[in-house]
Amino acid sequence: MTRRVIIGAIALAAAAACRRPQPGDPVRGLSAAERARFDSGRTVFDSTFTPAVGLGPLFNASGCKECHEDPVSGGVGDEVERHAAVFHPERIGAVCDLLAAQGGPVFQDSVTPALHAALGIDREPLPAGVTTVAARTTPEIFGFGLLDAVPDSVILSYADPDDRDHDGISGRPNRFVDGRLGRFGRKAFVPTLREFSDGAFQAEIGITNPSVPQEGTVTGQPLPAGTDPAPDPELSAHSLELTDAFLRLLAAPAPLKQSGEARHGRDVFTQVKCAGCHIPALRTGDSPIEALRYRDVAAFTDLLLHDMGPDLADICFGLATPSEFRTEPLMGMRLRTQFLHDGRAKTPEQAIDLHGGEATRSRDLCRALPAADRAALLAFLKTL
């Protein structure tokens, strides 16, 4: 009897170990302490903030999960937010004005009742002279801790800004305002996952914290007195660290088991040169977290900027011109209900069809595929 119990327990443990990570699961191999921090971080991520504890006065959402919600915390959302910047191609050294002195680049779509009462606004007004506003959808963030752990040198190894290999693809890095390599955000502007989430608490929820202790402005004007009653910082350093642990340790969605058609589609993906930018796997470097150290992540991105043509162009961002976007990671693609940076494509097929610029050749090769190959390509993408 005891023997049966032991064998049963081993079988259950083996089955659990073989189970593919589901959306929202942590990466495998965490210590008990790391797992505890992941779980506690999810609690902060799932929190809903109110004006009494610091929400706003300007905000896009009342908590992280309000947007990153589907199918679980860390997933996609149907919210679309506004970013704005002004492109000055004639200037040397400061071609992209992210409107940081005027409340940009994120212009929040909601205000607290107190700010509404004081200014009579329902959302942050855009500065005068802004002609282009970018719509940005909510990406799923599973596996972003692995992207964070990819060394700069790996990303830069794929850069070919002058297209010296003459393949028509010339990925180049974006840089944050302090010159560090960027990788997060649709324009690869933000260098690290921690900075992205610390900044998002303030820019998206209006929650000040030790990393960003000041509230944002209303289009550059200070907040009216009495509209922000919660004392700063509105979130503790400990809560920031727990949130970071949750985000960092979220596993990348495991690709689904591939049918014969999908396996053929993977070959087509390479054949039509999608893999020139959507690099199938990146390898992480050293990390204080063993579960993130020296791992291959099937990210399908090079984290570099590519010209996507005038039809997709919207705003500049750092060194990114209006038509340049970071190669979107395709991991977790099957969880999305809208595609491209602004959600204008409702299917993967539409998204491919809207590629331009450096991707024109690949798009045209896709368009020219026999129906069976095209179906196989889409079958492959739906496994990611």
């Binding site: 200037r91 040397i92 050294g93 400061a94 004005d97 992210l98 940081a100 002195a101 940009g104 680049p105 994120v106 700069d152 890095p173 840089r175 305002v177 302090d178 010159g179 560090r180 390599l181 997060f184 955000g185 502007f189 933000v190 260098p191 900075e195 992205f196 989430s197 610390d198 900044g199 998002a200 303030q202 820019a203 998206e204 990393s211 960003v212 000041q214 944002g216 750092g318 060194l319």
Partner: protein, 129 residues
């Protein structure tokens, strides 16, 4: 007699009372109120050499802000390179330069204490803190 005694007391006690208000060698003066100070690392977005002001874009993630600083003529401005710091003038700073600056003050424009040019946004800088 009583009047003389009172007068004598005032004459003797007054210097002692005044002395008690003054700092002594063994009891140094209280420091002046501390001026808030901070440091910033970011890209120069505007520079006015005549007015001796610079504007630096900085921030965390998408939470960006602009710090405006007065740069008194006495402020050391240096350029990092080849393992050394070379002194440069304010006019040598350009839009898009990445600088590290310390500054103080209660409100904008703040007053720069030191400025170091560490690179340019286009070419990047090492990921040091």
């Amino acid at each position: 007699m009583r009047r003389f005694a009172l007068l004598s007391f005032v004459v003797l006690a007054a210097p002692l009372a005044v002395a008690a208000q003054q700092p002594t060698a063994s009891q140094p003066a209280a420091p002046p109120p501390a001026v808030p100070h901070d440091s910033v690392r970011g890209a120069i977005r505007a520079i006015d050499v005549r007015a001796r002001t610079i504007e630096v874009t900085t921030g965390v993630g998408y939470a960006l802000r602009v710090v405006v600083m007065q740069v008194p003529a006495s402020v050391p401005i240096t350029a990092a390179g080849a393992g050394q710091r070379q002194p440069i003038g304010l006019a040598a700073l350009k839009l898009g330069d990445v600088v590290r600056a310390s500054f103080g003050g209660y409100r904008s424009p703040f007053v720069a204490y030191a400025i170091e040019r560490i690179g340019r946004v286009e070419t990047g800088v090492e990921p040091t803190p």
